[in-house]
Symmetry: C2
Subunit: 265 residues, 2 copies
């Protein structure tokens, strides 16, 4: 896209690093970091980048509420001719920095001028699901419980629809020091439809040294263990616990064993 | 887990290969393939594995409806002491083979005897989102339109709840040669709530040589181009098109520009 514009902007990439373990960071993500001169991100995410690579790059790391400043800095650097990568943990396109970068470019009429690429990563929801077993074998709804940028009423409405629609439910940002009641309220809403016996999973710090995985019913889950680095998964009506894992059957066994399998797909 | 059982079973891994480009396959996935002696999968997915690696392994590849047979073969091989990997494209935990493997193990009371690990990958939904821009910045619902294993009424009900709940909607398995009416019906249901002007995206064969990306309204999308290797994304009420991309604002700009940003998160 850059070639068709008389622009001196360098490329700007938005890179998903995966859940934390370097073994889950894709070669394409690492190549994007290598190709950049400046790496921009939240301090905790910058720390996920291999030290050896970080040492060879310029770094702009800021705290949790510095998103706007960071992304604007990255855009300006690219415009100044510095190849720049903005990093997110997990996938940059799921509640990550891809949106804010595009929003800021669009607001400044720069979408055609700065060549931007999003590099997808292994999202936190896939990491959590892998550690829990196989909860996402059927339709699922993904909901963030952070009401900083979304009115709580909108979140409640989505929780209702997800539960009534019998979706497996994945909760991002379930709890933080300053947001301590939203998770209990969300569980109350969901359990109002499913009952407290519905199987669920809680994964903290997936694929990081402090990793913790709990499978329990909604009523018995130690919810106080949830934090900002946690993902909660609530099963649908078919989900069951099996060998300490969370399993949502896709329906193969039932269908094929009764000889009712269609030849279509 | 294997160490605590008097079992001779070799490890069984279920591996997500990512969307297709080897650059989006994680080192952990490659290491799992290396550690296996037998690789089991749908023919088209086996072909995503680097030829050099395939040449050094035993392969069991079967057609599209051989899932049960493949997974059972993999379980038997592991029990016979052969380290085995079952592969899925994208993420093995999202409509992938992780569930069927666990179902089959559970049904045969083998969950404690066969050491099984799921290796997450970059899912098709993240690949599609990256190519479309940033559609998944807000809560989203993921629905498969395949009614082989799910009654169509259940799928319709979920489409309704997803649309009324103002979720961004991701559709898997939108269309195949033999399932040619479900996508039109799904679009009709969604558009009944959103109107035909709602921005959407269609991604075929993400990160493969035949990749195609279209951003258009529900009313103007060339739906006939969708196939089994396609992902459809329908925006929520805030999603807009920007510079040919699909953008669901997270709300930073509106919130921070009006000075209404909370210090919580």
């Amino acid at each position: 896209m850059s070639a068709s514009f008389p622009s001196t902007s360098a490329p700007l990439t938005v890179v998903g690093l995966g859940p934390g373990d370097t073994a889950l960071c894709t070669p394409q993500a690492l190549a994007a970091l290598e190709a950049a001169e400046l790496l921009v991100g939240y301090t905790r995410y910058i720390e996920l980048i291999p030290q050896e690579l970080r040492d060879r790059k310029r770094i702009m790391a800021t705290g949790m509420r510095g998103e706007m400043q960071r992304c604007q800095h990255a855009i300006q650097a690219a415009l100044d001719g510095v190849p720049t990568a903005v990093v997110s943990s997990g996938d940059a396109g799921i509640y990550g920095m891809a949106g804010l970068v595009l929003e800021l470019l669009d607001a400044q009429d720069l979408l055609g001028r700065v060549p931007v690429e999003i590099v997808p990563g292994v999202p936190a929801l896939a990491a959590a699901a892998a550690l829990l077993g196989a909860p996402l074998m059927h339709d699922f709804a993904v909901i963030s419980l952070s009401d900083l940028l979304t009115p709580w009423e909108v979140i409640e409405r989505r929780l209702e629809h997800a539960a009534v629609g019998d979706f497996v439910i994945v909760l991002y940002n379930p709890r933080s020091t300053h947001r301590d009641w939203q998770l209990s309220r969300a569980v109350e809403i969901i359990a109002g439809h499913t009952g407290a016996g519905r199987p669920a999973g809680l994964v903290r710090q997936a694929y990081r040294p402090q990793q913790a995985v709990v499978v329990a019913t909604l009523g018995e889950m130690p919810w106080h263990q949830a934090d900002m680095l946690s993902i909660v998964v609530v099963g649908n009506s078919q989900t069951r616990m099996a060998g300490g894992k969370l399993l949502t059957p896709r329906g193969y066994l039932a269908k094929y064993q009764t000889g009712d399998a269609s030849q279509r797909r």
